[in-house]
Amino acid sequence: MSGSKILELQQIRREFVMGTEIVRALKGVSFDVFSGEFVTIMGSSGSGKTTLLNILGCLDKPTGGDYLLDGVNVSQLSRNELARLRNHKIGFVFQAYNLLPRTSALENVELPLFYNPELTTRERRERAMGALASVKLVDREDHTPSQLSGGQQQRVAIARALVNQPVMILADEATGNLDTRTSYEIMALMQELNQQEGKTIIFVTHEPDIAAFSSRTVTLRDGKVVKDSKNENVRSAKEALAALPPADDY
């Protein structure tokens, strides 16, 4: 990948004190991510990938080491500055979607923009509509989450992640709650965002077939990077979707 360096992790350590014991979740993790990459972070449970995700998402600070996000050293920021950074540079996609109930898709997508005081109501609406358009849900703008399928809900969540024009999208098991077909649909959307709009995506998962859609895979075990490899032949989610047996119509 030829883009600029967006993430820089240098010997990231994270330790938790549990009573008298010190649990070392991350024992010196180092890697860089460049603009336009689609990275999956793999690892079994307990490997430290959730801890790493929290640090990448600026929800948590490392005990040691430096984490530079878009040139800013996160370790030295206050909680309020971290909140601002999350608002401006990161778009989260969660396993459980985390949409506000009884709230229209459009309003859900608008949500991050409320914490950005520079925008007017009109700009907010336009950008939210734009984000909904890029996940192909414009016609569902006034549907509430309960009126949407799981895949559609996750697409609303992706639109919400896109709306602040972040430098990277951070997805946490974003296909974990979805069936294979819908998972592939989401992955196809992710690939499209990555390849056509050049969005940097970091995708945490434990499913190897999901990792096959990304351009690079970082594998963690026991708080360390055990494998960091480029994926030479990226599988196309669109083709994988087409190859699936047709959906049963009952």
């Binding site: 929800l59 309020n80 999350r86 608002n87 969660f94 991050p112 409320f114 914490y115």
Partner: protein, 406 residues
């Protein structure tokens, strides 16, 4: 985050739970409405008590001659003569807190009309006496200052006298009665006043200009008493002091001399009045306090439940860039919107129910502005006070744990 965004976020959050927001509000609505309606009833009854007491002449001041010692013998006050017209005029001119003053010169006699007669009291007074004693003319007119100046032979009859002299129900106005040997033309009748608080029949009376009594019957320059009214109940103490000062001046008393007159007020009545109204105020304040505290606890309870229920929402908001302060303010603004909206609805409902109560039950109600302002301020404060702790609890959540909360 801008204020508009803050309010928008809070409004949308409340919108998602309209029924719950309304039920929470209901505590405040009922509280505020109850306070306003209660205070309106209280104020209404206070005012009607006040006007009743005033009609009894609670701001009335009586000046009587004092008992005095003449050659070692104490002379009863009523037989002592010290009050004259210059005293009355001096009070009229000099006392700021006195609104009206009238001398009283009275005598007893037999009132005669045709074949009927009735023993009664003839009181010679000034026209201002009607104001001081809150006497109203039922029929005809009262006498005027001109009648006083000419010692006119006119009179106004009380109801007891009328029923004894004119039992057939004909109007006495225009008739000429006699008191002892003096003919007096009836020019008006008094509205019935009933018994005084001491059991006296206040309607057994004939009123006539004081000059008529002084010059035509008693042949004296002295008065039995002087009646005055203070501007209001509250100023009657100052009015009393002024009258004492003035009379000591006109009577040329040296500082060491005792007063040769005595000044009396309706102190007992005033005390009753103020204790009644303050008791009412305390009672209503207590009700107000209790109902608003209950409403506030309702808000606090719901906000705590809401924070627990919306833990994931809070985690999400934090992950997409909400600061601790943003979360705190969001929940605080939600609580304030509930309490202020509830307060506004409560004010309207309170005023309406006060009106309905006075229309249907006929109770006098006075909606006081201070009760509206006060209860509104209290409920806004309730929102802040009871909303703050849940809001703080929300803002202190760890975003990582909040996001994983089940």
């Amino acid at each position: 985050m801008s204020t508009i965004n803050l309010i928008l976020i809070a409004l949308r959050a409340l919108q998602r739970n309209k029924l719950r927001a309304f039920l929470t509000m209901l505590g405040i609505i009922i509280g505020v409405a109850a306070v306003i309606a209660m205070v309106a009833i209280g104020e209404g009854s206070k005012e009607s008590i006040q006007s009743q007491l005033s009609s009894m002449g609670s701001n009335m001041i009586t000046v009587l001659p004092a008992s005095n010692v003449a050659g070692g013998v104490r002379i009863g006050g009523s037989s002592y003569q010290s009050l004259t017209l210059p005293d009355v005029l001096a009070i009229q001119r000099g006392a700021e807190h006195v609104s009206a003053v009238s001398p009283v010169s009275s005598t007893k006699g037999q009132a005669i009309f045709g074949a009927l007669n009735w023993p009664t009291t003839l009181q010679g007074v000034a026209p201002s006496y009607f104001d001081i004693r809150k006497l109203t003319i039922n029929d005809g007119i009262a006498f005027s200052d001109a009648d006083v100046a000419t010692a006119a032979k006119v009179c106004v009859l009380g109801q007891t006298v009328i029923s004894n002299l004119f039992p057939s129900g004909e109007s006495p106005v225009g008739k000429v009665i006699r008191l002892n040997s003096i003919p007096l033309q009836v020019i008006g009748t008094l509205a019935p006043k009933g018994q005084s608080s001491f059991g006296q029949d206040q309607d057994d009376i004939i009123l006539t200009p004081y000059t008529t009594v002084q010059k035509r019957i008693l042949a004296t320059i002295y008065f039995q008493s002087i009646y005055a009214s203070a501007v209001s109940e509250t100023t009657s103490a100052q009015a009393t002091d002024e009258i004492i000062d003035i009379l000591r001046g006109t009577h040329r008393l040296r500082p060491a001399d005792e007063n040769d007159f005595q000044v009396r007020t309706m102190e007992e009545l005033i005390k009753t009045l103020s204790s009644t109204s303050s008791l009412l105020t305390i009672l209503l304040t207590a009700i107000a306090g209790i109902s608003l505290v209950i409403g506030g606890i309702g808000i606090m309870n719901i906000m705590y439940v809401s924070v627990t229920e919306r833990t994931r929402e809070i985690g999400l908001r934090m992950s997409i860039g909400a600061r601790e302060l943003d979360i705190l303010l969001q929940f605080l603004v939600e609580a304030i919107i509930i309490s202020v909206t509830g307060g506004l609805i409560g004010v309207v409902l309170g005023i309406t129910s006060a009106k309905v109560i006075s229309l249907t039950l006929g109770w006098p109600t006075v909606v006081s502005q201070s009760s509206i302002v006060l209860s509104f301020i209290v409920c806004a404060f309730t929102g802040v006070f009871f909303g703050y702790y849940p809001a703080q609890a929300a803002s202190r959540l760890d975003p990582i744990e909040a996001l994983r909360y089940e």
